[in-house]
Symmetry: C2
Subunit: 345 residues, 2 copies
Amino acid sequence: MKLGQATIKDIARELNVSSSTVSRALKDYPGISDETKRKVKELAAKLNYRPNAIALSLRKSRSFTIGVIIPEVVHFFFSTVISGIEEVANSRGYNVILTQTNEKYDRERSSIETMLSNQIDGFLVSYSKETQDFDHFSNLLDQGYPIVFFDRVPQIPKAINVMVDDYRGAYDAVSHLIRQGYKRIIHLAGPKNLAISKERIRGYRDALTDHGIEVDESLIVECPLGTDTESRKITTEILKSDSVRPDAFFGNNDMAAVGAMLACKDAGLQIPNDVGIVGFSNWQFCSMIDPGLSSVAQPGFQMGAKATEILLDIIEKKLDPEQITESVTLPTELLIRKSSVRIKN
Amino acid sequence: MKLGQATIKDIARELNVSSSTVSRALKDYPGISDETKRKVKELAAKLNYRPNAIALSLRKSRSFTIGVIIPEVVHFFFSTVISGIEEVANSRGYNVILTQTNEKYDRERSSIETMLSNQIDGFLVSYSKETQDFDHFSNLLDQGYPIVFFDRVPQIPKAINVMVDDYRGAYDAVSHLIRQGYKRIIHLAGPKNLAISKERIRGYRDALTDHGIEVDESLIVECPLGTDTESRKITTEILKSDSVRPDAFFGNNDMAAVGAMLACKDAGLQIPNDVGIVGFSNWQFCSMIDPGLSSVAQPGFQMGAKATEILLDIIEKKLDPEQITESVTLPTELLIRKSSVRIKN
DNA sequence: TTGTAGGCGTTATCAG
DNA sequence: CTGATAACGCCTACAA
């Protein structure tokens, strides 16, 4: 019952022609009689013939498949990126094979192995929080495998990086808070080994400085996990401590920002009047909570789409990796909601 | 620079043995001298040999890849399912190739085509909202391709379905609302062609009936899109109309529930005292909004994991599809938060 | 203990 | 216009 996928051979046998003829007829090669073409195509349709992509891959040493290595699928931003990847890959006739690392370095390495075994044509990578060295990627690049990194990008030779303007996103967010009159702004920062975290911290610092506020290092608090639970706890501690109370929070991500918001509410503080809050990523829930959470929107879909376009262009030799000397940086957009706009009296 | 992946042939040539010997040595076949094995393995390691999965697939007519067809990646529940799929597939040595249909019937069909071309070993499917007939799936089943459906499952012969107990989830949610004293409960329902929507409606009906409340059909309102915007609009209309004001909303999903919540707030109604609200799916944001949204939790990860286990067992013939006569139904859990618990006076 | 030959499905090359 | 052959990388009877 199973199987029985018709092959070129089947068609050839039935029609008493050679497989080469069938192959050529199927792809409208010159030098095949219309009569033969017709017969071949008819039978192919009837037998529901479908080219065997595996055989093609073997023959061409090309799999028309790209591998995506991503920290987490259950993540608004990353899933949006995947959506962009899937869209472009699909429309250009490529398959997407997906692995998530769950933020584990080992998974990252083993994913690469499997994908290499599967002869994928190129990689799209956002590395894990655990990843500290990039030799596994450098090796691939040295061997000539196309890789495009997105969002979490390494600083290594030959890497092509697609990212958002984390620096400006943070700068805009913090500037906005300052303009609203907030002065002691806590930054709930991300893991320091991620370039994106560093950039956001840099944006935070520069915004303060440029507005004549001295940077107080103790206001930069790392939230390694980036969950609302973690940040809620951390924020509660901060609010309880003796130091001068902060009047605003800029979260490295929306979860952290929400955690801070909840902690503030717990402490009986009014948002936005007592405390202003801005997050990063513009997760769906930002507009659903009360008060709405201001946030820096990242173009996830475009990022995925752009990264995929570049990768496929390289694969198809439409683009020479050498040509791309600079990283691609996509703009962010600060979406202002109630959580950071003081109500005038 | 590129390529140069070592093959069995390369090793054989270098060692002056035949490729069969190398092949056998690599997999510790009996009847190969330890000496040869050692040399082969050494060289393989040195050359960084990696079996070519494509060649293997061709040879075995098995790709060790499963295809996942899903409506949306950017969706808390579905991304959770993907995570479960990825986890199990990965641990059992399978690749996951992913396509999203964006709720389009045509994409669903074309995804199947591509996957068939790619000789995938089996399908995991949750069909699109547009899908009305299931011939494309029936055909596959008739041809003997293994398919496991999850969440959005069809009622067709031979289909193996993994779903959550939508009926009971809805029943529990509505019963809870009734026990809290809510009487005019609106159900913001999903598209009627989805079995899951129907089941939830059935649960809604039975809960009312069992508690001696007559079902008022006008309280079952379809929200085809299931977005918060849509439901906010619909709810606003309802609240404005002359009919007796509802005192509770049971959403077919969390977005719909949030939309209702926002509309109620807009109308100056207190939640939960004036209006009680319960959603479905327990998206992350349920615990982050104010008041917390009660919701029926669906075990997405387990669903993905379970569906994948069944599929792989069938593929590996550990399981006969005929054996599975009933669908697998996973339990839901009602998580009660503030949005549906009336504060006693 | 090892080698040879054929084949998985397709197509490029070289002959007719 | 069409056919035969070889090759992509691997495995496995069958032979030696």
